[in-house]
Amino acid sequence: MIYFIWGSIVIVMLSMILVIYRLIKGPNPSDRVVALDSIGVSLMALIGMFSIMVDTSFYLDIILLLAILSFIGTVAFSKFIEKGDIIERDSSR
């Protein structure tokens, strides 16, 4: 069982390396936002398997917190790319 968890962690880390390549190279900022969201998702799976490996359930709160922060980051970056600012002041829409 522990070897299976080790193998899964190694596979997820290799896939995170592929995503980090896209984060560095990506031609425009939207590619980097997509890669950042995907890194957050991979990190949630990694923390879940790491908490199985070290046999404690204290790390499981981080998953929920990371999900919320990743979603807020995605929405903020998307609004910045679309409009140029995050919190618009005019109420004409």
Binding site: M1, F4, I5, S8, I11, V12, L14, S15, M16, L18, V19, Y21, R22, N28, S30, D31, V33, V34, A35, D37, S38, V41, S42, M44, A45, G48, M49, S51, I52, D55, S57, L60, D61, I63, L64, A67, I68, S70, F71, T74, V75, S78, K79, I81, E82
Partner: protein, 125 residues
């Protein structure tokens, strides 16, 4: 054949499926030619993969450690709701910001809609 073996089989099954989906999403993010296809791979496949991994973690802590943890279920529900919404917002904002689709794209449904919205805004002004 006791309960622990069955529980371990269930956990290994769910985590294997999730890890395969995450690896496929990373390969898609690495190789696909376009922002929209890459966002498609990242949002759908990675969301399903992390949900499956977290279900495996939940079963491990419930069946083997005897510790029912509802926060993992809450995290799964949150990811299930916000993954598609995040993918949609990213694709739409990058289309409005002017990222060109791949040259092999044969159909673009958002273009007439955005032209109609621009025309309505000009009439209102």
């Amino acid at each position: 054949m006791n309960v622990t073996v069955l529980a371990n089989t269930l956990v290994v099954l769910f985590i294997s499926v999730g890890v395969i989906f995450i690896a496929v999403a990373a390969v898609g993010l690495f190789r696909l030619p376009d922002l929209y296809t890459r966002a498609h791979a990242a949002s759908k496949s990675a969301t399903l993969g992390v949900m499956s991994v977290l279900i495996g973690v939940f079963f491990h802590f419930w069946l083997i450690e005897n510790h029912f943890n509802p926060r993992i279920l809450l995290g799964i529900l949150f990811i299930f709701m916000t993954g598609p919404v995040g993918g949609h917002i990213m694709s739409r904002s990058s289309y409005i910001a002017g990222v060109k689709p791949w040259s092999g794209t044969i159909r673009d449904d958002l273009k007439p809609e955005i032209e109609r919205m621009k025309k309505e805004q000009n009439i209102q002004d």
